[in-house]
């Protein structure tokens, strides 16, 4: 009976979403306050019912209700409770439910925190969010019902894909969705602005913290996914340019551009149309990601369910939402470039260059991801582009950003740039980068990637730190680092840390596949790996072989590692690599196959990796995430509306409207 309650809750949520999506928009158009007042209660009610549905599904998982097909397909009696909970979003239907649930969280947060914004504007924003919810709820109810029954009820269920049975995978989807879905808020703000034809530009300021938080979550989600791939897929890679990874990376790139464009629009009044367009793009790419993953149009290692009916539904939804908003943009976007003029040497010019690079990079990733599809369409056969395409073009496109990054904080808005200061940075950071690069060249024996990585990281890191130091010296305590600036500095240092991680890992990693008999040793990257044999071990829902590898350096024991090869109750085999983490290096051991099946006590094939600085990749990503969160917390964004509108008013006079 309870699963039917869940379904009922979803239907009620859909009805409330319809109310939330239509009435406030009509009210805002007609100036009817009663209709506008529907927005908040409808959003809250919808959230309650979706939460109820989510709770019912979780309950079904926790209590082994295998009469629910989705539960029977994705869990079994032996699965521990925490993975049963994670199984709620482990497959198609449940992950959509999570998507809509998170959309509701964002909507409710917005409804609660927007009391000081004009009512007409908030009604439009909540209305747009309601329409998005309608699309997703209808999608769940009509094509992907998680509460479908399976009769007769099987005594035991299938299994959650063992690849997903990992702590990283438990957090990855919710955090990633927080980012994906969070862009819907920036999107709704832009659409509301287009609908209302707001003369003031204040909406950009209101949208900024939301965009920053969403982008921060997206960064964290991508980091979690990358970490999971590294730890769980068993061969130590951290990024594969896989279609599904690209689907999360494209909104991230556009989101990064959007954050900066919003700053320009807010502070200078320029790039208005561009900011609106980027908001639309960021959310469209999030939807596109959902489409690519869920429609089966592209197959990948992540490919889950593919059902043409679902694909068609999402495509129609995508066409209506994105097509509609782009049409609206074409009709209503500000026609004349407003704002103050650009100077050649100014912060807005630097941001504009960065924006171009980030958007072109996103377009490049999109093109590369869709290449196989284009190949099919033009009858060129199965073609796809691999990591070399992405790696080369992406490096090329990011180069200007890396070069400009240290100057960002020093550049002023408008034409007040002090070129002497810029030269100062150029010399100091440049000197530090070259010096470190020379040291790196000697240490690594002239590895190009390592040299480039060190130089780029030092360039960004030192450049940004110089500014931190300057503020420390020149500003009185308490006013040195407002949250918005602190966030920017953190994220920029994060870029440096990330660059160091990527390039040093790529250049210096030693990866070796070896055959080892118990007692044998292998020397890799200055570490001695001794294989101490394999014994049988048990887990809650798997049994397997566990190897013991003792690692020592210069005769001192560093780590004892236990790579596993698990066989889950349903027969799937899964490699659990053992990782000894460190600030400057990771040691990574994965168990291959026994040389002789009948003698698991004997020699095994092992993968031994020494990966220097790999952790810096994720540390950099997390710093960027912190940057997004810090900036959003700035007090300036929380000030009252009266104060907020004042700098933007000056620019509106230059605008003519359609």
């Amino acid at each position: 009976m309870t699963p039917e309650l869940g379904q009922l809750a979803l239907i009620l949520a859909l009805l409330l979403a319809l109310a939330q999506g239509m009435l406030p928009l009509i009210g805002a158009w007609r100036g009817n306050r009663a209709l506008m007042a529907v927005a908040r209660p409808a959003a809250a009610g919808q959230a309650v019912f979706v939460a109820l549905a989510f709770g019912v599904l979780s309950w079904a998982f926790l209590h082994f209700d295998f009469s629910v097909r989705y539960v029977a397909d994705n869990s079994n009696l032996a699965l521990p409770w925490y993975y049963r909970l994670a199984a709620v979003w482990g497959a198609h239907e449940g992950s959509l439910l999570l998507w809509i649930f998170i959309l509701n969280l964002w909507t409710v947060a917005l409804a609660a925190l927007s009391r000081n914004l004009p009512e007409v504007f908030v009604s439009r924003v909540l209305g747009v969010l309601g329409l998005i919810a309608v699309g997703f709820l209808a999608f769940i109810i009509f094509t992907s019902n998680p509460f479908e029954r399976l009769l007769p009820m099987p005594p035991d269920g299938g299994d959650l894909n063992p690849v997903l049975q990992d702590p990283g995978m438990t957090f990855h989807p919710p955090v990633l969705y927080m980012g994906y879905v969070g862009f819907s808020v920036a999107f709704a703000f832009s659409i509301a602005a287009l609908l209302g034809g707001e003369l003031e530009q204040a909406w950009v300021r209101w949208a900024r913290p939301w965009t920053n938080v969403a982008w921060g979550f997206l960064s964290a989600g991508i980091v979690a996914g990358s970490w999971w791939a590294y730890a769980e897929l068993g061969w130590g890679g951290w990024w594969f340019w896989d279609p599904v990874e690209n689907a999360s990376f494209m909104p991230w790139l556009v989101g990064a551009a959007l954050i900066h464009a919003q700053a320009v629009t807010e502070k200078r009044g320029s790039l208005r149309a561009w900011t609106i367009l980027l908001s639309i793009f960021a959310f469209s790419l999030s939807l596109l990601g959902t489409f690519l993953v869920r429609s089966g149009v592209l197959t990948s290692v992540h490919a889950f369910a593919s059902d043409p009916r679902r694909g068609l539904f999402i495509l129609c939804f995508l066409a209506v939402v994105v097509g509609g908003s782009l049409l609206l943009y074409a009709l209503r976007a500000p026609k004349v470039a407003g704002g103050k003029p650009f100077a050649v040497v100014s912060r807005e010019t630097a941001i504009l260059i960065g924006n171009l690079m980030l958007t072109v990079a996103a377009a490049m990733v999109l093109l590369g991801t869709l290449f196989p599809l284009v190949g099919d369409a033009l009858n060129l056969g199965k073609i796809s582009v691999g990591p070399p395409y992405f790696g080369f073009l992406f490096t090329l496109l990011m180069l200007p950003i890396v070069l400009l990054l240290p100057f960002g904080p020093y550049l002023r808005w408008g034409n007040k740039g002090e070129t002497s200061l810029l030269k100062n940075v150029l010399y100091r950071a440049g000197f530090a980068a070259v010096a470190c690069a020379i040291v790196a060249a000697f240490v690594t024996g002239g590895q190009l990637k390592a040299i480039a990585g060190t130089a780029a990281a030092v360039w960004c890191g030192v450049g940004t730190l110089l500014y931190v130091l300057k503020r420390w010296r020149e500003m009185p305590a308490g006013r040195r680092y407002p949250a918005e600036m602190a966030g920017m500095l953190l994220a920029h240092i994060g870029v440096g840390v990330f660059l160091a991680g990527v390039l040093l890992t790529e250049a210096l990693s030693v990866e070796r596949d070896v055959r080892m008999a118990p007692g044998q040793t292998q020397s890799i990257g200055g570490y001695e790996f001794r294989f101490d044999g394999v014994h049988v071990t048990e887990g809650p829902n798997w049994h397997g072989d566990q190897g013991t590898v003792t690692v020592s350096r210069n005769g001192r024991e560093v780590a004892v590692m236990h790579p596993q090869k698990r066989t889950y109750t349903r027969g799937q085999v899964q490699t659990e690599s053992a990782i000894d983490p460190g600030v400057t290096r990771d040691l990574y051991v994965a168990l291959g196959e026994p040389m002789d099946k009948k003698d698991p006590e004997g020699a095994w094939a092992l993968r031994l990796y020494h990966k220097p600085f790999v952790r810096w990749i994720w540390a950099g990503g997390l710093l960027m995430m912190l940057g997004g969160f810090f900036s959003a917390a700035d007090r300036r964004f929380r000030t009252q509306r009266a104060a907020a509108t004042e700098p933007a008013v000056a620019t509106t006079a230059q605008e003519s409207r359609a």
């Binding site: 397909d73 429609s295 995508l318």
Partner: protein, 180 residues
């Protein structure tokens, strides 16, 4: 007009995606051409499920065509396929050989006792080693092997009445024509 550029660009994308969905309905994604089709079946020696002391091999099965059906008690899709086999298994004209894949013999026997046994003969591959030679992706899968021990047809996923009518029976009919 330039404001419409993003819109038209996006419409191009929609057309491409629409094409992608249409393409997928025309081309079965699972239709990975099996390199084993029209090649001799891999050599195998596997014990019978109900009598592990006896083994069945490729050689012992030569002389008559048969259909190998990979199944397991843990496999949900096999449960969906099972009623179809119970009905159609008698009508296809060749013996149905069950291939019990990565399964506990007791589980498999209990499963067959509960749902019925459509198979004339069942071989057991507990650790799934031989299945690798057959290129088995997962259960259920079916292989049609002819009298000379050559794989003539392969199906990944459950056999449905439609698949049996449109694919399997023509393949079996083709065999019958060759050996009058």
């Amino acid at each position: 007009m330039s404001r419409l550029v993003p819109f038209f660009g996006f419409m191009l994308l929609v057309v491409l995606f629409g094409f992608g969905i249409w393409w997928n309905t025309q081309h079965d994604q699972r239709e990975v051409p099996s390199p084993l089709i029209n090649k001799p079946a891999p050599a195998y020696v596997l014990p019978k499920l109900d009598d592990p002391a006896q083994t069945v091999s490729r050689e012992s099965m030569l002389g008559k065509p048969y259909l190998i059906n990979v199944f397991a008690s843990w496999c949900i899709a096999c449960g969906e396929e099972h009623p179809v086999l119970m009905i159609e298994g008698q009508n296809i004209g060749v013996p149905l050989v069950g291939y019990n894949y990565k399964d506990e013999p007791d589980d498999a026997k209990a499963w067959l006792a509960r749902h019925g046994n459509p198979y004339g003969l069942i071989i057991a591959d507990r650790d799934g080693r031989t299945a690798i030679d057959f290129g088995v992706y997962g259960a259920p899968e079916s292989f049609l092997v002819d009298a000379k021990g050559v794989i003539r047809y392969k199906r990944i996923g459950p056999l449905t009445p439609a698949v049996i009518e449109k694919e399997l029976k023509p393949a079996i009919a083709a065999l019958a024509k060759e050996t009058p």
